[in-house]
């Protein structure tokens, strides 16, 4: 069953790819829709069944497909393992993905590469599920890489525009930078544990074999991978650009699933990170920094999808705060809730974009409250959820993280988190108010939205509103069912309920302040951001980080490449050879010039030869 979950999307992707390649011009809308949407539906059912099985008490489910690689001590099977962590992951991934597939069937209708899109989409699904369900690091890594690949393909889906491809390249390359760290971590892990098997379970069992220093290194390297995939500082720059892809892609990949892979990975290796709290703290700080940083930038963006992208990054920061501090369950919980409302936000944004004929600048929108009521309501719910307003899902998960941060004693992280919560509310409501409330002169007729696009919004809105209750903790009268179900090695921070209430209240009030501020500033008369002050200029230009990357990495690489092309290859290596050749030829020419045609010179050469021979002989024979 587990194997099927992974294999089905791959097969359907392959099937669609073949059909597509066989005749790229043919319009096979029905076929692609049935296969492309059907596959995630089937696996949703399957993964729910897996989930049920685990809920009913199974510890883990294993399923081995084939023996993949067997070299020396490296024996890797294509094997899948579903424990509770992965069950949760696949449950919401498949569920949300199905919704997004349905949504996409409407969104992408009419695109001439419709089949290709679904092929890619299913490929992504398969990769993501492979990543989640892998029972060993290598398989996980393969999923990890394939996820990156499909992300590349999907971001660059509209490939006639070169900037889209640049964005895709950026995404893939930065992901690869992460993978670079990741593979080093895996290799080091393998070498350190050589001979004891290489599945997560055996690693967990033998983790004590590795000394702390190496373990820290491994943890750090693995986290580099997470940085890339989950868009953390400093490898985040691809995420905003990745919005170049079709909106369902942004919803699925860059909000709900792929970007959370990093968090999942850290949770998956929780048995490792629990041994190295220093690295965990480092992760938490990176997360906090990313959260704040993204939130600041988001507050000054005007592209609807970019705002959401930065918001994603910011929320991912929260998750890393959690997993860094050892609160793995809280992290995963946030992943879980975030998937719902962020997918919803993106899909809503997509609906708006479609309705407005591909307009993405929020300051050119407005007054959509009446014109798109369904979208407005669902997005409002999602915004409330992301801003951490109770009782929506975001409140419980975010609160759990901030409480953990406070309780862990790292108050700086907590402070940053709280401030970011305020900013989150601010920029999210800024978006909402600008788009739906503010005035607009635009009276163009809206494009109609198909049902397949709006219905998933409703489902997700319900989810966003309610899934939070799964993880309500003791303080709020729940039983932390989610956390308990996961059975991750959480660091236990004890904190009084009073403090917890206080913190919760603070968060809610911060959220409300942000909301109020946004309403004041944008709902009535929207102020378009202008680069009128230095700080604004810096923020709007995203702190010039992209330019820094170009300056410090791209430019030197190009310079080096040109150096090799223009100096090293021709002027050093080739020149060395050519110099030898030249010297040889030159001496040959000089030597041949002795051949001047005059017979007495020739006789002279002979005479010189004989003479020196005689000279030699005179000495050799002792005659002189």
């Amino acid at each position: 069953m587990l194997s099927l979950i992974v294999v089905i999307p791959f097969l359907s992707a392959l099937l669609m790819a073949l059909v597509y390649l066989a005749d790229t011009k043919a319009d096979r809308y029905k076929f692609y829709t049935i296969v492309g949407v059907g596959a995630p539906m089937i696996i949703t059912v399957l993964s729910l069944m897996v989930g049920l099985e685990l809920v009913s008490g199974e510890e883990t489910i294993h399923n081995t497909l084939i023996n993949w690689l067997s070299v020396g001590e490296l024996r890797i099977e294509i094997a899948f393992m579903a424990d509770r962590l992965s069950a949760v992951m696949i449950a919401f991934i498949t569920f949300i993905a199905t919704l997004i597939h349905i949504y996409a069937a409407g969104y992408m209708r009419g695109d001439e590469a419709y089949g290709k899109f679904f092929s890619y989409f299913n490929l992504f699904m398969g990769s993501m599920l492979l990543l989640v369900l892998a029972d060993n690091p290598i398989m996980m890594f393969i999923g990890w890489e394939l996820v990156g690949l499909s992300s590349y393909l999907l971001i660059g889906f509209y490939h006639t525009k070169s900037s889209n491809i640049t964005a895709a390249n950026k995404a893939f390359i930065l992901n690869r930078v992460g993978d670079f760290g990741f593979i080093m971590g895996i290799s080091l892990l393998f070498i350190s544990l050589e001979g004891t098997g290489f599945t997560f379970e055996s690693i967990k069992a033998n983790i004590a074999m590795i000394d702390n220093e190496t373990l820290s290194l491994i943890g750090l390297l693995l986290f580099v991978g997470a940085m890339g995939k989950s868009a953390q500082i400093p490898l985040y720059v691809w995420l905003p650009d990745a919005m170049a892809g079709p909106t369902p892609v942004s919803a699925l990949i860059h909000a709900a699933t792929m970007v959370t892979a990093g968090v999942y990975m850290v949770a998956r290796y929780s048995f490792l990170y629990i041994e190295i709290p220093d690295i965990g703290l480092f992760i938490a700080y990176i997360g906090a920094a990313s959260a704040l940083f993204a939130a600041i930038i988001a507050s000054y963006q005007s592209d609807i999808k970019k705002i959401l992208a930065y918001s994603t990054m910011s929320q991912l920061g929260y998750m890393f705060i959690a997993v860094g501090l050892g609160a793995y369950s809280s992290g995963i919980f946030h992943v879980f809730t975030h998937a719902f409302f962020k997918a919803l936000l993106f899909m809503g944004a997509g609906a708006i974009i479609i309705a407005l004929h591909h307009e993405q600048n929020i300051f050119k929108m407005g007054k959509l409250k009446e014109r798109l009521p369904l979208v407005y309501i669902t997005m409002f719910i999602a915004t409330l959820a992301i801003s951490g307003i109770p009782p929506f899902a975001g409140f419980f998960s975010k609160d759990a993280i901030l409480v953990n941060a406070f309780a862990s004693g790292h108050h700086l992280i907590w402070a940053i988190g709280s401030f970011t919560a305020f900013l989150t509310a601010f920029y999210m409501f800024r978006l909402l108010f600008t788009v739906f409330h503010a005035d607009s002169s635009d009276t163009k007729e809206l494009a109609s939205l198909p049902n397949s696009m709006t219905r998933p919004l409703v489902v997700l809105a319900i989810g966003s509103a309610t899934v939070g209750f799964l993880g309500v903790n003791e303080a709020y009268g729940g039983s932390s069912w989610f956390n308990n179900f996961l059975v991750l090695p959480d660091s236990a921070y004890h904190i009084s309920h009073t403090t917890e209430y206080l913190l919760g209240a603070l968060n809610v009030s911060l959220g409300l302040i942000g909301m109020f501020l946004a309403y004041k500033m944008f709902a009535i008369n929207k102020l378009e951001v202008k680069e009128d002050a230095l700080y604004k200029k810096v923020i709007i230009n995203k702190f010039y980080i992209d330019e820094l990357y170009v300056f410090f990495i791209v430019k030197p690489l190009l310079f080096l490449s040109r150096l090799i092309a223009n100096v090293l290859d021709p002027k050093v290596f080739d020149a060395f050879i050519n110099l030898n050749v030249w010297t040889y030829r030159k001496s040959a020419v000089i030597f041949a010039r002795l051949q001047n045609g005059k017979v007495r010179y020739y006789a002279l050469y002979i005479l010189i030869g004989v003479s020196s021979m005689s000279y030699y002989m005179l000495f050799k024979l002792g005659l002189m």
């Binding site: 084939i66 993949w68 070299v71 393969i142 670079f180 690489l557």
Partner: protein
């Protein structure tokens, strides 16, 4: 049948060429003859592979005395190492012939057949002199093909490749002769059979000198950084089939040579050279990759790419542990398939657009999706995309590198990054962007799909089920490595 199967495999193409040449066959028959010979060879090789016992070491051996006074014998045999390359060459020939379908120039076909004989012979010979003969022989078709059918500065470039390669092979010849002489001195008879020569105990100093002769030849063939200036011009000028064979097979023969002869003849001496070569390979890995970034000529770009990956293979070889070795050998196979596909696709690009310069391509993806798919697929499999064999190989080499040393491991892992940059930039400029409406974008025809599909299937298969393929050479590597560790105490 089995007794002479290797001989048949080696000489079938040559025989076909001679028969066709004697009867002055028309291009039509030439085409069919060449195709038939390659398919027949492929079947023979597959048949042999079917009967191949991975645990048996050298098999299908055929020894017959040849030039007795010089101790040169006709001595061929196959083991896992040579089988891999033999499989590759016989697998690649039919697609190449399909590629050459419209080729009217007869010399082209003859050269290809001769080339196949040369390469198969070099891979299968176990007599040093026989090896040398084939090693040089396979250079001739390349020389002619680049010089006659190439483009750009092809005449100069073909001269350059021939001279540089021969410089290497001459130094190898010198070493071979010296080793042969040492054998003669101790045993009183001449022999160049590998197993005879392997029994010699050299003193350390001699061994170092002799090994350097071999290594120079192979370093030029691979090419390691510093010996590479022939590479880009030659690849850039060569016609597609020649480039495919050069990058997929001939460059690998450099690795093969070190493996086969280096480790048999001077195992411990190679440890002496290991640090140097590892350094060179690591430099090469990045050097070529960085160079490829700004290269606009596609064939040259993939020449550098090839250099980068071959450096990695060489690196794996010299790391001297089972992971790196398996990775290297596997990489030989998968990179051959991928680069063959890539160069064929580049050839198709040239056929369509009459240019392989990146700055004049673009927009293909929107007009010719199938073409773009294959193009991108091969490019990505060169970059080591998971799901293709290249990934497995790179993974193994990286693990092997980490086993040796953390820093080497880190440096090796950069291969994850190095290919990325230029491949993706290349894809962007070649395939994507807006199409030029004045240009005809012709998608792949059925024939071209048939030619490329086997490669795609194999690449995916090697990525999905590596253990199935690796079982061919696993026992070989284990036993070779054991012998090697026994003799030299491992590489440090």
């Amino acid at each position: 049948m089995m007794d002479n199967i290797l001989t048949n495999i080696i000489f079938l193409p040559l025989f076909a060429a001679v028969v066709l040449g004697v009867f002055r066959a028309d291009t039509k028959y030439l085409k069919i003859g060449a195709m038939l010979s390659s398919v027949a060879t492929l079947f023979l090789v597959l048949f042999m592979t079917y009967n191949f016992d991975p645990h048996a070491g050298m098999q299908f051996i055929k020894i017959s005395p040849w030039i007795q006074n010089a101790g040169i014998s006709y001595f061929v045999g196959v083991d896992a190492l040579s089988l891999v390359i033999l499989l590759l060459i016989s697998l690649l020939m039919p697609p190449l012939y399909i590629y050459m379908y419209h080729e009217k120039r007869k010399g082209y076909w003859y050269n290809m057949m001769l080339l196949q004989t040369g390469v198969s012979g070099a891979v299968l010979s176990l007599d040093m002199m026989l090896f040398y003969l084939f090693w040089e022989t396979m250079l001739l078709p390349i020389f002619v093909m680049i010089g006659k059918y190439g483009n750009g500065l092809h005449r100069y470039n073909s001269m350059k490749i021939v001279l540089m390669t021969i410089l290497g092979s001459m130094s190898m010849l010198f070493s071979i002769m010296y080793i042969g002489y040492i054998y003669f001195e101790t045993h009183g008879i001449w022999s160049f059979a590998l197993n005879d020569l392997a029994s010699i105990d050299f003193n350390a100093q001699t061994s170092i000198w002799l090994a350097s002769g071999f290594l120079l030849a192979f370093a030029i063939k691979i090419p390691l950084v510093g010996f590479h200036t022939w590479m880009a011009p030659a690849y850039g000028s060569a016609p597609t089939p020649a480039v495919v064979i050069m990058s997929s097979i001939m460059a690998k023969l450099g690795i093969y040579g070190i493996w086969r002869f280096g480790y048999s003849l001077f195992d411990s001496t190679l440890s002496y050279y290991a640090p140097t070569i590892i350094t060179l390979a690591l430099i090469g890995l990045l050097y070529y990759a960085i160079r490829a970034i700004t290269e606009l000529h596609l064939r040259r770009m993939f020449a550098y790419s090839s250099g980068s990956h071959l450096s990695l293979i060489a690196l794996g070889l010299f790391l001297g542990n089972i992971y790196a070795w398996s990775g290297s050998l596997y990489f030989i196979a998968t990179h051959a398939l991928a680069s063959a596909g890539m160069f064929i696709v580049i050839g198709l690009t040239y056929k369509r657009f009459n240019t392989v310069y990146l700055d004049s391509l673009g927009g293909i993806a929107s007009k010719a999706p199938r073409f773009s798919f294959f193009f991108a697929f091969f490019a990505l499999s060169i970059a080591g995309l998971p799901g293709t064999g290249g990934f497995v190989a790179e993974l193994l080499i990286i693990i092997g590198a980490f086993k040796v040393n953390f820093y080497i491991g880190v440096a090796t892992a950069t291969t994850m990054l190095s290919a990325m940059v230029y491949i993706f930039w290349m894809l962007q400029r070649a395939l994507f962007g807006t199409a030029n409406n004045e240009r005809e974008y012709e998608d792949l025809s059925f024939r071209e799909m048939i030619m490329l599909l086997p490669l795609v299937v194999l690449l995916i298969a090697t990525g999905v089920m590596p253990s199935f393929f690796m079982q061919i050479f696993d026992p070989f590597l284990v036993s070779t490595l054991e012998a090697f560790t026994l003799n030299s105490g491992g590489v440090k």
